[in-house]
């Protein structure tokens, strides 16, 4: 992908020749290919589940310039799958932790750290400095932003996405290939679960999908093989089935079609229906109770009914003795509740329970409160013996 310029390396040191010998002796890479890798500039969006394995392997393979965009901090729940970070990195910036790991694997790689949230204001400028963009993000607004910025700057978008034990991968926004919007012209409306940190992911799955992305990145750099252009790979790790669907470039695509209507980056939160400013006020109308207050009133012997709207497997991890009705079952099981009693609803963090309170109030329950911050806040503020997950 990278073209030779005066600034770019045209030779490998003896150390590098030794390091990359298993590449150099295979005709598909060879000295030419290894130099292409060394000259390549790849930008990884996110150093999380997908970004971890793919950055590690791209660095080990000798990709010369690796940019990483991330603003997050390593926490314990990341370690189950974000293998670029270790236990001693908890609390550090992911960017610093990742850069250390990459330098340790291959000091020949120049790692560029971008400690920022990718946005419409910075994406184009950032992308122009790289050859290939690898999308390891976790939300729809950023997915559409990465896609559009790739189309507008003419950079391939190596896409990967995961849910529980299923993944998707493709290569979007190449010159003649389809883009993400050709496949998904519109985002789904924002979920009732604010973040599906509640959705979960099998720890190995981002490894599997991230390495498919790394493989595609290396193939694009080498100009070898058949990249996943115009193909959507579906991975089902549970069935261990890989399927492939045809993707077509949509001539009416608003970004990459023949008459594009999106010619500059837009407000992607708005596009994805996320109302940044309205949301807090909508939430503010939901009556809340703080964990300490609930504890005090329970200790005082007040009659408060606790409703837990999480899933049964979450209830098994920890519970505070609430009556379990998963949010999705609430409409058909609402008759189990007594509208005369005072009800406090909780979930893990407060998102699902907000929806439940909204629903119950619409259904005529007037004495319903949302436990602020969910069971996690209960663990923090009232009972640390309740495990956090």
């Amino acid at each position: 992908m990278a073209s030779l310029t005066e600034n770019q390396p045209t030779t490998l040191s003896n150390d590098e020749i030794l390091r990359y010998s298993r590449h150099l002796i295979m005709p598909e890479v060879g000295m030419d290919g290894q130099l292409k890798l060394k000259q390549a500039k790849v930008l990884c969006i996110g150093a999380g589940g997908l970004g971890s394995p793919l950055a590690l392997y791209l660095a080990a393979a000798g990709v010369g310039n690796l940019g990483i965009v991330d603003f997050d901090v390593v926490d314990y729940t990341n370690l189950q799958r974000q293998v670029i970070h270790g236990t001693s990195d908890v609390g550090r910036k992911k960017l610093d932790s990742a850069a250390d790991a990459l330098s340790e694997i291959n000091p020949n790689v120049e790692v560029r750290k971008f400690d920022t949230r990718l946005s419409s204001a910075n994406a184009l400028e950032l992308f122009r400095e790289f050859d290939i963009i690898v999308d390891g993000t976790d939300n729809f607004p950023t997915r559409y932003l990465v896609n559009d910025a790739c189309v507008l700057t003419g950079k391939p978008n190596v896409y990967g996405s995961i849910f529980r034990f299923e993944g998707q991968a493709s290569v979007f926004a190449t010159k003649d290939g389809p883009c993400y919007r050709c496949l998904y012209p519109e985002p789904p409306p924002p979920g009732l679960v604010p973040s599906c940190a509640e959705g979960g992911v099998l720890g190995i799955l981002p490894g599997l999908v991230g390495l498919i992305q790394a493989t595609e990145t290396i193939k694009l750099i080498l100009g070898a093989g058949e990249p996943l252009i115009g193909r959507l790979l579906l991975v089902d790790a549970l069935a261990m089935r890989f399927r492939e669907l045809k993707l077509r470039k949509n001539l009416d695509c608003p970004v990459c079609g023949t008459h594009p209507t999106v010619t500059a980056l837009i407000d992607y939160n708005q596009f994805c229906g996320i109302r940044g400013e309205e949301a807090p006020s909508a939430v503010a109308r939901i009556p809340e109770i703080q964990p300490e207050e609930l504890k005090r009133r329970l200790v005082a012997g007040e009659d408060i009914y606790i409703l837990d709207v999480r899933e049964p497997h979450e209830y098994q991890i920890c519970n505070i003795g609430g009556h379990l009705i998963p949010l999705g079952d609430l409409p058909k099981r609402v008759s189990e509740l007594d509208s005369v009693r005072e009800i406090v609803v909780h979930c893990k963090m407060g998102g699902r329970s907000t929806k439940a309170v909204e629903f119950l109030r619409k259904s005529g329950f007037s004495r319903v409160h949302n436990l602020a911050g969910g069971i996690l806040a209960w663990s923090d503020k009232v009972d640390p013996s309740v495990p956090k997950y």
Binding site: P187, P188, C196, G199, V201
Partner: protein, 106 residues
Amino acid sequence: MSIKILIPTPLRPYTGKQSAAEVTGQTVGEALSSLVAQHPDLRRHLFGDDGNLRSFVNVYLNDDDVRYLAKEATPVKDTDTITIVPSVAGGVSSCACPIALESNDL
């Protein structure tokens, strides 16, 4: 006449955890109607209030997007497989539910 519809993980809560369903119908639209007749909870995830397939639901007949065939009128035959392809955002620690409920769905 039996056609297989593959259900992606995010929609399996609405199919009693089944990963596939056997349905009947002459067209993709009929096959999907047969699917939601078996699993009524799935309806609002696939179809809008107007009865049309939701714009963010991708339906494939074998390995082709039905948008580039005859959409819901695309004829199906016995050995065909229909795949529902959700948009999945997850990558780091979270994922957006592919077909989210709106509050008024509850």
